[in-house]
Assembly symmetry: C2
Amino acid sequence: MNNDSSLQITAKLKAIISSSAPGTRLPSTRSLVNEFHASPVTVQKALQTLTMQGLIESRPGIGTFTRTQAVSRPADYSWQSTALGSARTRRTSAASPLTGPNGDSLALHHGYPEPELLPSRLVRAAINRASRSETALTCPPAGGLADLQTWFARELAEQTIGAVTPPNAKDVIIMPGSQAGLSSIFTSLVGAGQPLIVESPTYWGALLAAENAGVELVPVSSGPHGPDPHELSKAFERSGARMFYAQPNYANPTGAQWGVELKGQVMDVVRQHSAFLVEDDWAHDFGIESSSAPIAATDDSGHVIYIRSLTKSVSPSLRVAAVIARGPARDRILANTAAEAMYVSGLLQAAALDVVSQPGWKTHLRTLRSQLQSRRDLLISGLYDAVPEAQLELIPKGGLNLWLRLPEHIDLKRLTLDCAQSGLSIAGDVNWFPAEPTGKYLRLNYAGPRPSEYHDAARILGEALHSQ
Amino acid sequence: MNNDSSLQITAKLKAIISSSAPGTRLPSTRSLVNEFHASPVTVQKALQTLTMQGLIESRPGIGTFTRTQAVSRPADYSWQSTALGSARTRRTSAASPLTGPNGDSLALHHGYPEPELLPSRLVRAAINRASRSETALTCPPAGGLADLQTWFARELAEQTIGAVTPPNAKDVIIMPGSQAGLSSIFTSLVGAGQPLIVESPTYWGALLAAENAGVELVPVSSGPHGPDPHELSKAFERSGARMFYAQPNYANPTGAQWGVELKGQVMDVVRQHSAFLVEDDWAHDFGIESSSAPIAATDDSGHVIYIRSLTKSVSPSLRVAAVIARGPARDRILANTAAEAMYVSGLLQAAALDVVSQPGWKTHLRTLRSQLQSRRDLLISGLYDAVPEAQLELIPKGGLNLWLRLPEHIDLKRLTLDCAQSGLSIAGDVNWFPAEPTGKYLRLNYAGPRPSEYHDAARILGEALHSQ
């Protein structure tokens, strides 16, 4: 007897139930077995289905009855565990850097600049203009609006040096944010079970995307000056990896900016292993004492896949990023993006392009530079006073974060809870390491609200630390 | 000798090159082998790297020289083929239903309603209001704006019947379009190499997402009245699948709407196999002579995963969809979405919610219903006159498409080209079948521009057909 018979029995019993008064007793399993010439298992399956649909109820030891009335049952989704099997992604997905500032609390955990640091007037005016444009009602091409592709290509072209052929607009793929870009690159160019070299520590969102894509992480230690190219070369040889994901400028979380020489050495390693460098230029607009100098501007052989997002610097609502890639790699990323998202809202693309095309955008970036500098320095001075035992290995020349090393005995989760109780949000529950964390580190964001209270924030952190 | 040595040689040669005049001859490979105590292969690798960087050039039979001047080289990305291996997705990604109407040509190929059929005044006003709201500058929660989640939950709750517990706001996950929803569901709940049952024919975008996720397609034939539940049951048994993707209301492309009895039978089969039904309610707002009656409204046991997009009915620019799921399935979809996209622009969410909350939205839908009816009937009458040999198995009670069967001898690609030459766009190059197409079918969309010329469109199609 197969499920098909069980299906027929279900249908026949439904007919009986619908013509019976509520509370009517159904024939016993044994008599149903005889009546339908079915196995007891098949009959039981049919009865279970009807029970789950709320049409019958069984009273143990008495029998099975049609339902007297609708009863609110507690939801039982336990069958899904069998259907789904074990889960792939174990990393916390809704991690705290995404949680916005929580009402009155001081927030050093967030990954985005507060609205105060955004070009809000430009953003609102751009959305307003876009609402009246054709893009408000039409569907853009899969690769993106041509004008926005051109803008991204030109920005990188302006930084290319020497004999390097600059990218063109067709090399640009517009993405709904850089997370989608990373996910698409890891899925389409690496694939499940294949190795991907990453810095350790590195951006938690990249680790999440990589784990979700099922790739095997190969860590290469990276400190305040970036990775050691010889270690990188060994990692390529040992793992057979064909891709290295890195943030050469103002790495998140360490703040490291690679020197010119290291950038060249890494590219030599990457080329020698016929591999890709995925260059995440997340903080392109957040230079403070230097500017982001993309490695992508030195390569025209398709070895660098460049990601650049406007989400953090323009507005979280204008969720637009660009991936610049050449050759078959570009085609695969585009095919994967089309399959996963079809296209990015033309409205968001038009509004983002409008913002970065305004003269006010350059002015905004200049102001932002000095705002970030004074916030960074304010937080550092607070930490020197209140948390002298914490070690700041690098004063970052750009980006939004300080990377603080705490004494080994510190329990980061307890620290996070203690700070929260005193009104300070920190992200001690986020794992920035592809393998085990190699120390007790805390990323502190200096782009959150109320910088005037950074000394209070440092004091709360210090008190929570000293209580351990 | 390993790549690490090659790296050292590259570095040393770079030092030599930088201190030499352009056109300087480098030492021979043999002397470099001796100098660096390296193998010839290692030295060759170093020279190749420098050549690719444009620093040296080799003149066959003469020697290797530092570059005299920057030379524009033709791009060579062939190394990527080795690095990437063979591609996974073979289905055309930038398929024609996404291509917008092309200037002056008549378009029956597009998948989206033309701007004429959209609530354009409501959309522009909503975006404008959203530009002034907090959502223009902030980052929404990963699951979506609470008010929009509530709206989607309530819409489905209003259709639930009998003793079914309606969904709540937390069961709703806001997605950047239904394509992202499908991709996320197939990736996180089925997974690469695992079976997924689909109707045949079915939505090409779903096939694309499934193929991109690497799932194994299990087709179940589905005609003008939907699939045979006994065949469906057998497909579950044979394949061991745990999921059935279907469009019970106004299926794209066939236009089929399942009867109430079939909906119940399919749910019985799905429950008996402890499986999921992914119900794609893509045409919820496009009822003509009936309304979309979601199966999700009859289930509270977590067996139905419901997808409902506003992209097609509100605006392609407000790319917002909802997935409603319960139990662990919901958690996995949310984790996957967070890993792939982080969040959906709060601006788009706020604007979409604004539109569907206006009294004008209901009025718009009533007008749209009669517009779709007259367009559908106009196209049908044109086809009856000009293409009598084409067979329309079903006059759809909703949706945006006619599903036309053409004589077996027709070459669809040639037909598409011939029509294009006469100024009519049709999508004869799209494959709606998970396996081989079982006939020569054409999907004709009656929501494109210039319905007054549908008779001309039918005439062009007829002439192109008769020429074969």
